[in-house]
């Protein structure tokens, strides 16, 4: 969490009044919440009245799918199909699995090897029976950015609504909900140095809505539950900070990412870079690589011992026996998915950190490969 955010959250903890109450303390809380609403709205390109605060993007995503589940059940307009992709966040992937089991029609559009939606297939999936199209803005593993505006245009052309989970993209690239023609947009606070457990569902004007949580008039009746004043203030401050430095931060992260990519590729033989190579198609701080013949959890833990924290797509780190579904959806062979490492560079990383990784990583890979039953081709 950013220092400025932490300070704002701590201060807001003193605003004990319930923002829904009419007394003075309550009014004070309401005022700071409305400021936060404005701050978030200006970061994502919508009016402040479109912002609904909640517990995070998982709730936002579930809310949107629930709205369309209802509409399909109620046969509002005869549309009964949802289109999404194979690389969405688990809060959509699992919701889709659940709904499919219940008999709902859902198509998951495949992606190419860089993780970008196959637009020809996407086009073929459109139709007058489509109720909702849901495509994430940027992927959490490979960092690939989707052509959301273009897909929104296709969705609207066939009369469907457009949702995008922008959680990973917020604060990394400009997000323009209205400009892109997105009807519903999800985000979480902690992805841009805001507090955990607070997020937003932004809802376009005049689009279908039904609360996911019933039982209160908060958020204009859009989401029941007592206001989490302090964290809402925090997400507002985080949004303002993210908006302020967006361009510079993007360029700084991309420079470090490229430094890391070229440094590791030069120092380690047989490395595979996952995702797209085009700067306009990748979240700037994300770098996903596979190291053939080396298993991801081992890499992760050896790096951890050197104070370097990364993620892996290996099954061994997931608790299941399945490697990353995102990497498999990109067509990566199982072994490369097991041997994948994702570096996430952020606001508090420096070029010194990158140099440190480039120094520490090659001997680790060499060592793991030496003890491996798998051998690189001579």
């Amino acid at each position: 969490m950013a220092d400025e955010v932490k300070k704002a959250v701590d201060q807001a903890e003193n605003l004990y009044g319930n923002a829904s109450s009419m007394h003075g303390l309550g009014r004070e809380a309401e005022t700071v919440i409305e400021i936060a609403r404005k701050q978030v709205a200006s970061l994502i390109g919508c009016e402040k009245g479109r912002i609904v605060f909640n517990s995070g993007a998982s709730e936002s995503n579930n809310t949107v799918f629930n709205i369309f589940r209802d509409r399909i059940d109620d046969k509002v307009d005869g549309r009964d199909r949802i289109v999404t992709t194979t690389i969405e966040h688990p809060s959509i992937i699992e919701t889709v699995k659940y709904l499919k089991k219940k008999g709902y029609k859902i198509d998951e559009c495949p992606v190419d090897k860089t993780g970008r939606v196959d637009m020809d297939v996407m086009k073929s999936l459109m139709g007058s029976d489509v109720a909702l199209v849901s495509v994430m803005t940027g992927n959490n593993e490979v960092g690939t950015i989707q052509p959301v505006a273009e897909i929104a245009k296709m969705a609207h052309a066939c009369g469907a609504y457009m949702h995008s989970d922008a959680t990973q993209a917020i604060g990394k690239i400009p997000v323009d909900m209205e400009g892109w023609g997105v009807d519903y947009l999800s985000l979480s606070g902690h992805k841009f140095y805001g507090p955990k457990g607070v997020g937003v569902l932004a809802i376009g004007k005049g689009v279908p809505y039904c609360p996911f949580l019933h039982g209160g008039h908060q958020e204009g009746g859009f989401r029941a539950g007592t206001y989490n004043t302090a964290d809402i203030v925090g997400i507002g401050v985080a949004a303002e900070l993210a908006g302020k430095n967006l361009k510079d931060e993007h360029d700084r992260l991309w420079k470090m990412r490229e430094m890391l990519r070229t440094g590791l590729t030069a120092a380690i033989p047989d490395v595979v870079v996952n995702g797209s190579a085009k700067p306009e198609e990748v979240l700037p701080g994300t770098l996903d690589m596979s190291f053939p013949c080396a298993e991801g959890e081992s890499i992760l833990l050896y790096l951890d011992l050197d104070g370097i924290e990364v993620s892996t797509g290996s099954a061994c780190a997931s608790g299941s026996l399945e490697p990353s579904y995102v990497l498999l959806a990109c067509g990566l062979p199982v072994e490369l998915a097991h041997g994948s490492i994702r570096f996430s560079l952020g606001r508090y990383n420096t070029e010194d950190d990158v140099r440190y990784v480039i120094e520490k990583m090659p001997p680790i890979i060499k060592r793991i490969r030496k003890m491996s039953t798998r051998k690189l081709p001579e």
Partner: protein, 207 residues
């Protein structure tokens, strides 16, 4: 990221696991050990689940006098095989054949529950190496049936039988297994257990 942190306190693994992971014992260094000729070699595991293990043993009389191993695997797999190597060297073939995943994980001070799976490869690879040694030397393999547990009491089907049928490829499906052993055709209580074992062995032997 470059900031050094205290890992001991909140590492997912015990200090013993960590120690074996950082400094694995009896690794098979294919450069330095290129003149090291094992008497028996066993390989198990699959890339589908992300781990694979190769164990080589040297045998004198009825004792394992040396053991080396390689793995494509996670920290649990590395640590449990390293621990297994410490345990097995000096053991008789009989003793080594009866090393269980539980005895390895206990020696490691425990593994997270979902990682237990990773420790079943070391002992399996060791057993495969012993099998290989006995076969190469035309010696009778009396161990194979000695560690069998009865899984289906009605039809007297053991875990070893299930393992062997999966390993040999004779039982590709549960239906095959039932046809070959008649498991579960009595009281039927064993069905879930057989199914679990079947899946485990398929996984272990990459079938």
């Amino acid at each position: 990221m470059s900031e050094q942190q205290s890992f001991m306190a909140n590492w997912v693994y015990t200090p013993t696991v960590k120690e074996h992971f950082m400094h694995p014992h009896h690794l098979w260094d294919e450069d330095e050990d290129k003149d090291w000729k094992p008497d028996g070699v066993g390989e198990v595991g699959s890339l589908a689940c992300g781990d694979q293990m190769r164990v080589g043993i040297k045998v004198k009389g009825d004792k394992i006098v040396d053991l080396k191993w390689l793995t494509y695997g996670c920290a649990s797999a590395i640590a449990s095989t390293s621990m297994m190597s410490d345990m097995a060297i000096g053991m008789t073939l009989d003793q080594a054949y009866h090393i269980t995943p539980t005895s390895i994980t206990n020696a490691l001070g425990g593994l997270p529950e979902h990682k237990f799976h990773c420790s079943v490869l070391g002992d399996k690879a060791l057993r495969a190496a012993i099998d290989d040694y006995l076969k190469k030397n035309n010696l009778p393999n009396t161990f194979q049936n000695s560690i069998a547990r009865i899984i289906c009491e009605c039809k007297n089907v053991t875990d070893m039988q299930i393992e062997e049928l999966v390993k040999s490829g004779k039982a590709k499906t549960l239906e095959d297994l039932q046809r070959l052993t008649n498991y579960g055709t009595g009281c039927g209580k064993c069905k879930a257990k057989v199914q679990d074992l079947f899946e485990d062995f398929k996984h272990i032997y990459n079938k």
